[in-house]
Amino acid sequence: MSNLTASRVLAPIGTAGNLFAFGLDVGRGLFRRPFQLREFIQQAWFIASVTIIPTALVAIPFGAVIALQVGGLIKQFGAQSFTGSAAVLAVVREAGPIATSLLIAGAGGSAIAADLGARKIREELDAMMVLGIDPIQRLVVPRVLACMLVAVFLNGLVSVVGVAGGYVFNVVLQDGTPGAYLSSFTALAQLPDLWQGMVKALVFGLIAAIVACYKGMRAAGGPKGVGDAVNESVVITFMLLFVVNFVMSAIYFQLVPPKTG
């Protein structure tokens, strides 16, 4: 009985360890030749095609709602001239990576988990191992790299669309002036903000792809198992990404002091 309890309590730790070990395997697979360029390009194209349109559609209201919130707040402070700057900071630093992470996990990660899960239960992965091919090197590494690449691009897309959406909202609906919105861009924002957004997107892409591949490759128990794997992969990725986002933001504020004046 005590054995059973112990194994139940320790199970999550074991899972976390397995996930980490899987990540290390992927890291080792990165350097193994031959690199699967074809698979990488196909996957990058595939992930981009399932995420670009939803991302753009999410980014517009995201930019608008930030403009609404920040614009309102900043008007209360009596600092309307900084509206543009505040919107840029909010979109580039936080909203961009967060929206990216939601879509990479929700659209890209679920597609990867479903694909690998289906291959697992059809014994395709076993067949591949038996043919002397390591699925981590052949399938997982290209997907992880593709996911990271697409995440960085998506982050750029969200930033541009978000800032543009904020501009339209601020200028057209909140009676801001275009000049004030644009000229205040550099007042508070700085170049490292852009870098940290990209690094975050890169890390989010990595985590989303590794979790999705891990869950997909461990799918078991028929078609239901694939559904469960997709579901779990999305939930786990969301939780991990929000925690990692917090940690990375905290580190960023320690490393790069906020611009004053």
Binding site: A118, R119, R122, E123, E124, D126, A127, M128, M129, V130, L131, G132, I133, D134
Partner: protein, 317 residues
């Protein structure tokens, strides 16, 4: 040609449930072996353990001096190149057509030109009778065709060991007969070691040189075909002749009451041993033994009517 597989004291369990324990057998090089067993006795698990997809808890599997149970990942990938495996549903890659599926191992492991690959792929597709279906996707063809395509892919690297996971499940009797003939012809042609996992008794009675029977978490018996077919051992006898009387019940084992109830029942006589399936060109395989050879050498009288030409294959089934 062909490679011997030496299995010693192999034990495998999932959690606390023992699948089978202390399995010791040697699959002789170049011969056809069949591994039989009631449903759920871990036949597929045994096959997956042989190729290193599952790690056994104890014991060793030695192939060409390498122990699969303990060797490194790298050695494992190397040794797997000796294997061709036919999975239960063919396990074709769903995103590729049949041609690319069969060509896949060649493209990954050899530096052959596309025209050389084409020749080899077409030869194997012809062998399994799939010419004309190269452009089909695995989802578009029947289960039998998927199985044959899987066989073509398993053979494309000229394996030394070919493992078949239930080649006859889900096939009609005619296709099963063709597939069995194909297996025998292939063995004659490439001399590789064949291990077939099945519960089709007809296949087991006519195709192999050796038969093994997994039952009740251990290897009940392993030996030449005639030894098992003439055996009086209750489990072997019951299973190979598909009878209800014997120790095997609907769910694994019968309990003491059931056994007691059928204690006095007369066991039906052993059916005659059929002829072994011969290659279609009539030239005997290297590992083939003359009919009745084992019985004569070991002083066993085969059941009356054994080894007669034109005997019904379905006798006793």
């Amino acid at each position: 040609m062909g490679v011997e597989i030496k299995v010693e004291h192999l034990t495998k369990s999932f959690g606390k449930q023992l699948i089978w324990g202390d399995v010791t057998l040697t699959v002789p090089a170049g011969e056809i072996c069949v591994m039989l067993g009631p449903s759920g006795t871990g036949k597929s698990v045994f096959l997956k353990t042989l190729i290193g997809l599952l790690k056994p808890d104890q014991g060793s599997i030695v192939i060409e001096g390498t122990d699969i149970a303990t060797c490194s990942e790298k050695e494992l990938y190397e040794i797997r190149k000796l294997f061709g495996v036919l999975f239960q549903d063919g396990a074709m890659f769903g995103s590729m057509n049949l041609y690319d599926n069969v060509a896949f191992p060649l493209r990954e492991h050899t530096k052959k030109s596309e025209s050389e690959i084409r020749d080899i792929v077409m030869e194997k597709m012809d062998l399994v009778g799939l010419i004309g279906a190269e452009d089909k996707l695995p989802g578009e063809i029947s289960g039998g065709m998927r199985k044959r395509a899987g066989l073509a892919r398993a053979l494309v690297l000229d394996p030394e060991i070919v493992l078949f996971d239930e080649p006859d499940s889900g096939l009609d009797p005619v296709r099963t007969a063709f597939l069995n003939q194909l297996i025998v012809d292939l063995n004659a042609q490439i001399d590789a070691t064949f291990l077939i996992v099945t519960h089709d008794i007809n296949t087991a009675r006519t195709v192999p040189d050796n038969i093994g029977l997994l039952y009740h978490r251990h290897l009940a018996m392993f030996g030449p075909r005639e030894m098992l077919l003439s055996s009086e051992e209750p489990v072997v006898r019951q299973f190979l002749n598909a009878q209800r009387v014997g120790p095997i019940g609907m769910s694994e084992e019968k309990d003491a009451d059931e056994l007691e109830a059928e204690k006095d029942q007369e066991l039906p006589p052993l059916p005659p041993i059929p002829m072994q399936l011969e290659p279609s060109n009539g030239i005997a395989r290297r590992s083939q033994r003359p009919p009745g050879d084992w019985c004569r050498q070991n002083g066993v009288t085969p059941p009356p009517g054994s080894f007669e030409e034109n005997m019904s294959l379905a006798a006793g089934v």
